[in-house]
Amino acid sequence: MTAPDLDLGAVAPLCVVAVGAALMPLLDVLLGRTKTFLSRPVTAAWAGTVMSLATTGVLSIALVMCFDAAGAAPRTFNRDHPMILMDGMTSFLNIVILIGSLLTALASGKFLADLAINRGEYYALLLAAVLGMMLLVASTNLMMLFVGLELMSIPIYAMAGFRRDSLRSNESALKYFLVGSFASGILLYGTALIYGATGTLSLLEIGARFDVDDPVLLIGSGLLLVGLAFKIATVPFHQWAPDVYEGAPTLVSGLMATTVKVAAFGALLRVFQMAFGPIDDLLYPALWVMAVLTMTVGNVMAIIQQNTKRMLAYSSVAHTGYLLVGILVGTQVGISAVLFYLLAYTFMTLGAFGVVAVLAHAGRERERIADLAGLANSRIFLAAVMTICMVSLAGIPGTAGFMGKFYIFRAVVEQAIATESSSLLWLAVIGVLNSAISLVYYLRVPMVMFMREPEPGPEPDRSGTFEGLVLAVCAAAVILLGIWPEDLNLILTRVDVLHWASVASASP
């Protein structure tokens, strides 16, 4: 019996998050039992702030480690039996996930206190979910992929239902749980069929042994894709998204719309690159239809929404469609465009959900778009952040959203010209038309904020320091990525997406 060849350094950021997830419950108990600290009474709000800052600290350490790992050579944990790959793409996606969850954790302290759901479980669940996401984007093995997916999903189910006294929150958690576990079941069934047909769970091995004429393998691959499609909410697997985003606590909705989606997209990219190469041609029509439907349905449905969170939910469906377009291109340029888009999308969506979250208080959620009326008069900062995010989501030049769309559609057009593919060209045309449609509902929000008189009601109170900081970071990032995207994009195109093969295929 010899111990396997382990590389602990490769998983150091994951270990930090895991230790954080394990210590957070202990910190919660400790704070719950401490009556005074430095001769001052420990209040629930103070304890919540401490938990939120501790979580942010853990995530920042992991973030710094991921930045360090980004430039280094690819590594894996168990060299005898690699199941994860920490390469440039993993590091980049981990950075996006960590930034998104870090901003959420920082804003959560006051948000939870305002909604009177200030319970320590939240932060432990958040860290556990982040660990799951990081594993999901790193996994090169279907077993690891499933465990990562579950570790991401189960805490998020509970976080969606964190407002236990709110019926809509309960509905959100139950719906997300039922749909999510159904999707997990489908994915697991697909995994079982793939394993039965190929005798391996390693994505690279599956790709190498792929028999295009094997019906069992094809059914398994289809089920695997459907399982992941549920998680990223592509049409026709998107129906849960509006209800779930609407009912969940707003910051949790933001997390679901951003980091969860980033993680699932990361897994999808890996599966496509490593395992599904041989059936690219088979999948192309299905994905083409899916991308067109997802863009169009998302944008059209978003127009008629009266609730800001539902509108953002359909908007996130639409953006999933744009991302699918990038995946369809399949080239190096296309993938780095998708990676850039995921980062830009995380900032702008998190900012939008953040503004809605800041406005919320127990018993007075202010989630309708009409509730934003006159916000420019009463709280110009929130109105400005919301406007920047909306303009960016709509894809107007000078913002991150525009650059993201520009890179994706440029990749599509280049590939269409290179391969003389008219269907790809149509995809670009439909995508640009959809962007135009989206202006209708995105620009309605600034219009309501700046042009309409506020409804009479109690004067809104000020946002907390950390919340303001988070919103400022989101807005600043949206603008900076819009003005100077080239530096980041240069790094991204250098992320050698294909060289993982050399490491991971070294041993089966």
Binding site: D80, H81, E121, L131, V216
Partner: protein, 165 residues
């Protein structure tokens, strides 16, 4: 001897499954029939020299899963045909169609099996062998499963724990 036992356990497994479907109106009985089926399956696994799977079958399925079923049944008080499934012909039709489709699929997989069976070491599938794989090759998923179980407990607490005071 082995073939007698095989038939006994197989009939018990199928009988348990039929009993489960037959007593759907009383879900508690249904769940208990499921236990019968699961136990028979466990015996079949053990006969196949897959002791670990057999044990899991008893501990997880006959134990934990059925406990969960019974818990849900009793929590929701599902007695006396309140489930409503029998009033929905479409649901029945889809259910039957799915059952047929899965049977066809399983049948096609069975037909693909080529005899003779591939040679495997007598150790294959034993608990010790699974243990060695679990703690070396599958070390990372194993450790992550620990975090997953912790997260599940915390999630359950977040959903169900009554606030004190």
């Amino acid at each position: 001897m082995e073939s007698i036992l095989f038939w006994v356990f197989s009939i018990a497994a199928i009988g348990g499954a039929l009993g489960m479907v037959g007593t759907l109106r009383n879900t508690v009985y249904s769940a208990l029939w499921l236990v019968v089926s699961m136990l028979a399956l466990a015996c079949l696994f053990i006969m196949l020299n897959a002791q670990f799977v057999g044990l899991i079958q008893i501990m997880v399925y006959a134990g934990a899963i059925v406990v969960l079923f019974l818990f849900v049944v009793m929590l929701l008080n599902l007695t006396g045909g309140v489930m409503g499934a029998e009033e929905q012909p479409l649901l029945k039709f889809v259910g039957v169609a799915l059952a047929v489709a899965v049977s066809l699929q399983l049948g096609s997989i069975l037909l693909r099996i080529e005899l003779p069976w591939p040679e495997v070491s007598p150790e294959y599938g034993t608990t010790a062998e699974i243990g060695r794989a679990l703690y070396t090759d599958y070390l990372l998923p194993f450790e992550v499963a620990g975090v997953l179980l912790l997260a599940a407990i915390v999630a359950a607490l977040a959903m169900a724990k009554r606030e004190r005071g």
